[in-house]
Symmetry: C2
Subunit: 349 residues, 2 copies
DNA sequence: CTCCGAATTGCATACGAATGCAATACTGCC
DNA sequence: GGCAGTATTGCATTCGTATGCAATTCGGAG
């Protein structure tokens, strides 16, 4: 078999309309069905046919129209991924990994980025109109919205969220457990007065972390607790620390921030504005295990989310449910990974 | 007119197939065309018709199928956004902003995330198959790939990239100009020996920054220059600094890192491993103006990319070209914003 | 050479909405 | 009340691919 002698390979006559499977069929002298079959995986087509069609196809620069295909197969091969902007440093990593996981499986990602987590108004409508095969969301939907999605028979996986009454599949990091570890270690090392810096009120993650920490503190009989709230950002981290000191009258023994970025803000404020030494004068801990938490200026004591496993798990959970819509909901919780950094005085053990 | 007395509003009979415009038409006793027109913006439909149709529509839980619509209108209302993972801390911001800009205009984003910038193999094929209306890419495509896209008549906007021979629209931050400012300021303040930390070789941005800096250094007659290369990440930033000192025999007067994250790595390594004081013993500068650059432990002297304006510009440039494909290519370059932080000794002026 | 089963191929139709054109309903005006 | 002009509505077709079914071809065994 010699190769094609024509050097012109993939440059269709310019100015023409996009080639369709009929054009290819006509040029190759076969039926449109044949073309369709050549471009599918499990379809039957002889070697000769395959060659004829392929030759015609790339002479015309043809490629199958995924839109038309989706219409007939009732599968868009797209999933919607919803993120909210706020959880700034952490989600990008999640997003990139999810996208790669889906890509590996031949599934495309339709991205929806919310300004705030509660901006879910139009998103549901959009997703349903585009007939996505599944939804992976790191923003909270209302029960009504979840029901709408459910009525449309579209599988959903919640990322670091759980639906209150609703039953829906989810993948999450066990925030309470992580906070318990942090609190236990801090109390164990002798800290008695605490500052708690929570995140935005419409963030489920923030609420879980805060209540997780508060419950454990109470359980251990700690009563000297001051609470302030920020927005997960660095600047508010600094402001929160200042506010904390003012409210408490003096710096507490330890500060538990709802995420790493705010913890970093607290550290900077403690050092710069109050001249405190971290962790000698005060212990400060975060949550997430983002990149900057490792910067040696901070070396945060924190709980890292096992992002790799979580995204892996979430993606395959969604894909499974797309293949088999009858699967019952499943909730997977991953333990966070305790990081003993240098931003807190902990017992040696 | 009294309202509907039926309390059941949007819950279609479960187990049924998704409602189509024909179903709605049948229930409302009108033609399918009528339904189609009610769900469009500029179509003519009487008030009565609109009401009948809408009532039937949300009784059935109907919503137009964007896939089918795309097939007939030849418009998917989707754009592809391509990012590569590497430029870790900077692109998330870009991505979120772009997505929001497009969303505002009723355009959906199909996301492609590359592991490395050179992993563009299958991406082009994917984008064309999905008939995206336009492409916004922050990864470099080969001339052949760009030609393929061009043949498909899909407008492209390159983000912080320019095509070598090819002519294509682009939005970029003027990296050379930014590096010139940094170099000028450093030399002006008396620095004479330089370390240059470049990023991954397949990153256009990194190459531009490096050559921008080197050219300006040479122009000013500086010859004591040591070059090392990393991957834009924090860890390699640290390693690069160590390598730099070893190659040079001693710490240089100043280090120019290809991005902020590596600059931060350099600072940590300088302080921790060598006990140097920044900026007293050594000046270290970065590029991008990402969040962590502002953390007061670093307070980087850097050049910030005007992300807001760039994404705004890129999005509207692409949308314009989708509306009017005849528009000739246009290249927009934005000046970076010089940030005089505390990581470098600069002249007061 | 004949016949049988398996592998290919073509035909016709379906997917769900948009739209040009023709038919019809309405509007205001004389 | 009649008429011209406009706003609505329906009909029929189109977008590009997949697929069930029937027709055809192919290969090899007897």
């Amino acid at each position: 078999m010699k190769k094609q002698e024509k050097p012109v390979e993939a440059s269709p006559q310019p100015g023409k309309k996009r080639a369709t499977s009929y054009d290819v069929a006509a040029l190759a002298g076969v039926s449109q069905s044949a073309v369709s079959r050549v471009f599918q995986d499990g379809a039957s087509a002889s070697k000769a046919m395959r060659e004829r069609v392929m030759a015609a196809a790339d002479q015309l620069g043809y490629r199958p129209n995924a839109i038309a295909r989706g219409l007939i197969t009732q599968r868009s091969n797209m999933v919607a991924v919803v993120i909210s902007k706020l959880t700034n440093l952490y989600y990008p990593e999640v997003l990139v990994q999810l996208t790669q996981r889906f890509s590996e499986q031949g599934v495309r990602v339709l991205l929806f980025a919310l300004e705030r987590e509660s901006d879910t108004e139009t998103v549901v409508e959009q997703m349903l109109q585009y007939r996505v095969d599944g939804i992976l969301t790191a923003a909270m939907f209302s029960p009504e919205q979840l029901e709408t999605i459910d009525n449309a028979l579209i599988p959903v996986v919640l990322y670091n969220r759980t639906a209150p009454g609703q039953q829906a599949s989810s993948v999450r990091c066990d925030q309470e457990e992580g906070e318990r570890w942090l609190v236990d270690e801090l109390v164990n090392a002798g800290h008695r007065s605490f500052g708690v810096v929570e995140g935005p009120v419409d963030s489920v993650v923030s609420v879980e972390r805060k209540t997780g920490a508060l419950n454990e503190l109470r359980r251990l009989g700690i009563t000297d607790i001051t609470t302030v709230s920020g927005d997960f950002g660095y600047e508010t981290g600094r402001e929160c620390f200042a506010e904390l000191v003012e409210k408490h009258g003096s710096p507490p023994d330890a500060v538990i921030a709802a995420n790493d970025v705010m913890a970093i803000g607290c550290i900077d404020e403690a050092r710069e504005a109050l001249g405190l030494s971290v962790p000698d004068d005060i212990s400060i801990v975060g949550f997430d295990g983002v990149g900057p938490a490792r910067y040696s200026a901070y070396a945060l004591t924190t709980v890292r989310q096992p992002v790799q496993r979580m995204t892996q798990s979430a993606a395959s959970m969604l894909l499974e449910r797309i293949e088999n819509p009858e699967l019952s909901p499943e909730k997977r919780a991953f333990s966070g990974i305790p990081i003993r950094g240098r931003s807190a005085r902990l017992a040696d053990d």
